[in-house]
Symmetry: C2
Subunit: 324 residues, 2 copies
């Protein structure tokens, strides 16, 4: 059982990362209006959110710029148009996927960029490529995290090797990522334990990015913070791929640091997130996502089911059990 004192007080090391534009962008191909993004930035400022992730630094060679909103590419000038002179305390983050980012060209020196944190996303089998990206970003002066995706499908022995390699790299933060929303809080406690072992050995921080397939994104995030994880991803109204993420409004309500304030978040959801939903953008917990989470599968079949407006859940269950 966790110490009661830990529940009443707070660790000032805890940082909240708003991933609405990035994970939410996977749902609407990053087509957010400038008004949405500007107001979100101001809201994060008022709410005490520590980082705002604007989207991906995706390769313009690989992805057609006409088919996506600008936040799939996160050009420095587009970010600058939102944050201006960056007088606020909200730091700017972007995600860079291994194999899908021309990082040598598209990421310039931090001194010339509005970006503060580069989040390198990798699978367990592409750790060396991730290390190259980490070193590049670190040499350019950025804070750097490494988000190891789909760990619920990996072996603990492989994870330990990966964390040992990353520990020796200049990365600042290791991220636990429950890509399939398949992990239970008790498993998160065990995984956090492994991450924290290597984090302590190498002087790194640990973060968590959860998905809500089993309505556990928030529960897993607060389990992790109780275990010593410091960087917490959340999104407004839980917007994110498939079942979505840990809801910002739940997380800020839970955290005890008086710098966090849930009221502006509620206001933003009322004025902006509901509108997105009314316009037909769909995300969030539903039976099909529960099923892929339960079976520890990638949500792509459930996303397809949603897109096709199917409601034959029991038929879908039979289909994905077959694939297992």
């Amino acid at each position: 059982m966790k110490n009661l004192s830990n529940l009443m007080t707070y660790r000032s090391d805890v940082k909240v990362v708003d991933a609405t534009l990035r994970d939410g962008g996977l749902v609407n191909d990053f087509f957010f209006t400038d008004d949405f993004v500007k107001t979100l930035y101001q809201t994060n400022q008022k709410a005490g959110v520590d980082y705002m992730e604007f989207g991906y630094k995706a390769s313009k060679e690989m992805f057609d710029e006409s088919k996506f909103g600008k936040w799939k590419f996160c050009k420095d000038d587009d970010i600058r148009a939102i944050v201006g002179e960056k007088s606020s305390d909200v730091k700017v983050a972007v995600m860079a996927d291994v194999g899908r980012c021309d990082y040598k060209n598209d990421i310039v020196n931090r001194s010339d960029s509005p970006i503060d944190l580069i989040r390198v996303a990798t699978y367990l089998n592409t750790i060396p490529a991730a290390v190259d990206m980490i070193e590049d970003a670190k040499n350019k002066g950025y804070e750097v995290s490494c988000n190891i995706m789909a760990i619920s499908n990996g072996q603990e022995s492989d994870l330990r090797v990966a964390l040992d390699i990353l520990g020796q790299s200049p990365v600042d933060i290791f991220y636990i990522v429950d890509s399939f929303g398949s992990l239970y809080p008790e498993q998160i406690a065990r995984i956090a334990d492994v991450y924290l072992e290597f984090a302590e050995k190498y002087g790194k921080k640990v973060g968590i990015h959860a998905h809500n397939n089993q309505q556990l994104a928030f529960a897993n995030t607060i389990e992790a913070v109780g275990d010593g994880v410091d960087y917490l991803d959340a999104t407004y109204a839980a917007m994110g791929r498939g079942a979505g993420n840990c809801a910002m409004e739940l997380l800020l309500g839970f955290l005890r640091n008086p710098k966090y304030n849930v009221y502006p978040v509620i206001k933003f959801i009322e004025n902006y997130m509901r509108k997105l939903q009314d316009e037909g953008v769909v995300w969030g917990y539903d039976l099909q996502y529960l099923m892929t989470g339960l079976l520890n599968q990638h949500p792509r079949t459930a996303i397809e089911f949603t897109k096709n407006k199917r409601t034959d859940y029991s038929e879908f269950y039979k289909e994905i059990v077959e694939q297992d």
Copy 2:
């Protein structure tokens, strides 16, 4: 951290209680069709659910029978029309509220009734009345639980006195009830600890009934089962008052006992629960319930907000903070 072996195996003492008609009935005034109830009973049988709660034994003096569906009153004949000769393994439960049930007249001997379990619902300040109901039901031959509501608003010292009194009564099961959906898993662990201390002392079992205001109904339920709580309430598609309850489809997916089967649950949701929702019956997690949960308030203001189809969440937040 819980033992890994506890996660891979299961305790055969764990029992799942379907509370769909009872807590769900609070949303539609208990107007379920006979087809719905019969199919739900058959589905529980296929899914391996241990108990099905049919509704309340509400006083016909206090409540107008013409204004509610029959499951607010749960006459034995109405239950018999569903369960027939009761050849199935699904036990029948009803809830009896302190102060709202003519238990001396309306609850007959178990040998003459299709009911197996009487669930006595009480607040901390009506424990003596609850004990009278418990003794009455026990004398008539029933299994009996005592569901102590709204404990998040009570003092631990009062709770200890209540459990000590109940321990000396013939009740079989003490229930943890998070009426306001305000408790976090770490608090559930502490509360379960207190309940289990008295349960062990007096040879009782412990159960949990959670609400989903902070999307923690499932997380709190699996926290409790990991702590040694045996009786787990759940409802199909989480149907229940306000933000609803722990979803049956999540719970059965989690439990490791091979007697439980999630597929029939999915089928029932597809065929029956979606129809209720399409007909306009509203329940489930939403911002207004998060807010009352966060503030540890009764959800009545949020239910009113929902009923009035209001969407001015930030205004509502200001209103209920004022009431705090």
